[in-house]
Point group: C4
Chain length 300, copies 4
Amino acid sequence: MKEKPYKRWQAKLHEIIYEADTPAGKLFDVTLLIVILASITLVMLESVVSIQVRYHTFLNISEWIITILFSIEYILRIVTVKKPLKYITSFYGIIDLLSTIPKFLSLIFAGTQALVALRALRLLRVFRILKLARFLGASNHLAAAIKASRAKIFVFLFAVVIAATIFGTIMYLVEGEASGFSNIPKSVYWCIVTLTTVGFGDIAPVTPLGQFIASIIMVLGYGIIAVPTGIVSAEYTRKAYREEKDLDPYTIKQLNSTSPHPREVDVNSQSCSFCMAQNHKDHAKFCYKCGHPLHLKSSD
Amino acid sequence: MKEKPYKRWQAKLHEIIYEADTPAGKLFDVTLLIVILASITLVMLESVVSIQVRYHTFLNISEWIITILFSIEYILRIVTVKKPLKYITSFYGIIDLLSTIPKFLSLIFAGTQALVALRALRLLRVFRILKLARFLGASNHLAAAIKASRAKIFVFLFAVVIAATIFGTIMYLVEGEASGFSNIPKSVYWCIVTLTTVGFGDIAPVTPLGQFIASIIMVLGYGIIAVPTGIVSAEYTRKAYREEKDLDPYTIKQLNSTSPHPREVDVNSQSCSFCMAQNHKDHAKFCYKCGHPLHLKSSD
Amino acid sequence: MKEKPYKRWQAKLHEIIYEADTPAGKLFDVTLLIVILASITLVMLESVVSIQVRYHTFLNISEWIITILFSIEYILRIVTVKKPLKYITSFYGIIDLLSTIPKFLSLIFAGTQALVALRALRLLRVFRILKLARFLGASNHLAAAIKASRAKIFVFLFAVVIAATIFGTIMYLVEGEASGFSNIPKSVYWCIVTLTTVGFGDIAPVTPLGQFIASIIMVLGYGIIAVPTGIVSAEYTRKAYREEKDLDPYTIKQLNSTSPHPREVDVNSQSCSFCMAQNHKDHAKFCYKCGHPLHLKSSD
Amino acid sequence: MKEKPYKRWQAKLHEIIYEADTPAGKLFDVTLLIVILASITLVMLESVVSIQVRYHTFLNISEWIITILFSIEYILRIVTVKKPLKYITSFYGIIDLLSTIPKFLSLIFAGTQALVALRALRLLRVFRILKLARFLGASNHLAAAIKASRAKIFVFLFAVVIAATIFGTIMYLVEGEASGFSNIPKSVYWCIVTLTTVGFGDIAPVTPLGQFIASIIMVLGYGIIAVPTGIVSAEYTRKAYREEKDLDPYTIKQLNSTSPHPREVDVNSQSCSFCMAQNHKDHAKFCYKCGHPLHLKSSD
């Protein structure tokens, strides 16, 4: 794919579609969000038989209008970005495509219609539109804490699965088909339902021995929930502690009087038209990743 | 509304009704609490058909007595405060009004009766009556920690809702109407029931694939509960750490021997008769907000 | 009750019954525990109809044997302690009495039999018998942390009850009798079942609006569990921090290499024969509370 | 059992079977894992009646093939290790034996077949194969935190069991047989289901008083989950604090820039052919436990 010269109208449109710092960009993004929400509501209503029967035509037409709007947006996004392939293969690019394809496919195949619900993923854009550095920071903090305790959580979940397999088999042997534990996979499923303290009750032990073992499983499940919680808490606290220790007392006093999260940098909703990097510092003039100039304001 | 001169009897009544530091004020508040509890009990009993049928007259008369008592109290509160509009539009003012109106409305419209249960909100006054600075401090601490982790919790809840939408749609496609997943909204509802580990069991997956996906949802829900817990824990700990670091070792030793929460100031239950500000320091003579003199004791 | 002179045989028996440091005392306590466990098992088996029918005589006789044993033990405890009234009115004294009375009462009144299950409380003695300072320390730590966050937890539980009342009434109005929400108390009960993520499923919302409100309640319940957890975690951590800060770095290095809980003092299972104080330091010769000499070893 | 001279082919095989640092060793372990997974899947499928009926011969033959493979592996493990008895009596040795025996036993006794599910425990080997020091470190951290809070968690669980016994008896007295609380053990089981917030709903209180007591149990269960969580969190944090305090600020800065867990030592998947000790440091040439030389690479 040869790279075409980047024209002024492309830059303008890029700013409107990809960013939310200009009034036009903000308007575009808010409209987009409303359309996404309307689209999800439509899909949900369509699945309710009584509504589907009565408002069939209205729902179908609305669906097509939204699909066409999304298709136009998708094409514009490809056209206005400097490296279209990068957008197409990015997380949002795939989501955007998957939001339009199913409706077209439903002309050919039946049943693909419901995949339209994947549009819910588009709602993730809300974080960019809110343009709240605070929220971006918050989700980064979350991601960092989860990343740091990734290995521990994996070990924990693995142990849960093994425990469910063992206990599930035991319950299958103890309770048997009469109580609904009709095979090992079902028994393991019941065990996960119990260990996670969900407890549907569609299957429940009936024999005294089964109920005794179930009690052990429940107390176990109730107790081990402390483990991942403790891990995440400690990881968070450890991080906070390091941050604090690094600072001298004078700075801390100042910080205490101003903001609870001193180290967060204000970022804006711009994305580089060349490499699509995001989370640029406010007033940044060049992309921190590729050095490409950023289109800060239409008036620049 | 012209401001009328504030008379001595108004000040006296204000002290009794709005404060709990004098014996009369305490008596008033405790009586009020008992009447509120009695009133809530009445509303609850009224909704039980068998009781309603047998004790109809008694319940109705008691209801009217309480409603009239509340109405008198409401009028007195308006009369004895210097800025009645401020009280009427305040949180407690609206609650107090909503506690009396429904009964009167029930004369005209049927069904508004049950709204009387909003009186439960009046129970929040209990914190003032207990006159426990400790409790006020405790709820302030709670509020501060929740406020500080607000953004993170929002991100978390948003992610939960998106996950519920996606998984709900998948379960609708996999299980279908036969298992009770009759439409997407119901499926999303089931997904929230499962993710939050509530697990009613009114709807439950039947097919092996559905049960497998349900297992993933449950383990996910069980695991992510660690996230908000970790956030609040860390925020609490971080705050405690800053407080501690600020202090020199000598102070800490002293503090350890006296009280676990050194920085809490003793507040009393007074409220300014002019601007209605609360949480005044013990022995304060003037409102910290508007400078209006406070009526400390009847004997002053 | 006149205080009688304390004789040598009383001191001997006191050591055996109240303490667990001598071989005889240990034997007595372990025997006691086994009898308690046997007694609880008997009560449980008695309530199972099929077992009760078949082994009626055996169960009844065993019950009487255990009751007589407990009665003898109770009398011995009164006789061997210097201040019998203090024992009788103490927590364990009341439990011990309640463990024997019901069986005697069952001769006169029917139905009091099941109260025998209160004997389960006697199991709390296990901590003394285990003679594990570590365990005593652990439960003290627990108690201290819970005590320190008492006010916060009260505020939290109060808020949960108010929320359950409000939401319960709303659900009663929305769902009505058809779905099982037949009156407000039942609706509030359902709300507590849901907020605490228990979710029996005996009552479940059926209307779309009811399910929507239920979803909000569930997410709320799932989210607020973070609050008490955060409180207890932080209280624990804060306490640990103070302990650590107090120490100079050299001590800490030493501590790290020896024991994880440096400040715990070894206590033994003795209890003063005069004032019944417990948790004496190992090798203490006099009661830390009343100065009365302690009977360390039979051989002393 | 006389110790035979350790030959070169034994050393070679030992390296392949017990270690995962050489290509051959890695291949062996990955193959083993796949066979284990296949074997568990087979056992699960076999328990599903419809599949069992249709694919009986295929399942049976596959089962025998896997059992024979496991038997060969078990024999090889015994042959290639220097102290076979130590392996046979080790945790993995017993698991490996239990994975093969049931199938052979099923020729003689019916019903032992399902025990084959114990093979799930063999999955624990995955941690060694992943050869991720990080994961090993993670599980060590977990184990350490749980070990440190062992006593506290025991006290907690003990209190839960006593509470379940007391409340179970009360519910039995209040609800009686009509509501499904047909005897005390069943009632205690229901109480554990409720306290742990599992809530199957197969048994649920029907009388108002029973529902009131159930509400108390649920709020209690919801509240006390904070306790084990707080314990583990604090233990984790305390440990982290000590580690941090020990370090001077310069080291911390360096550590922050490199790795989140500075104190972890890289270990590999080797196991000593003499004493079977594991978790050797990377590039270690002698066993840290018995001084026996380690076979690092086949080419050494």
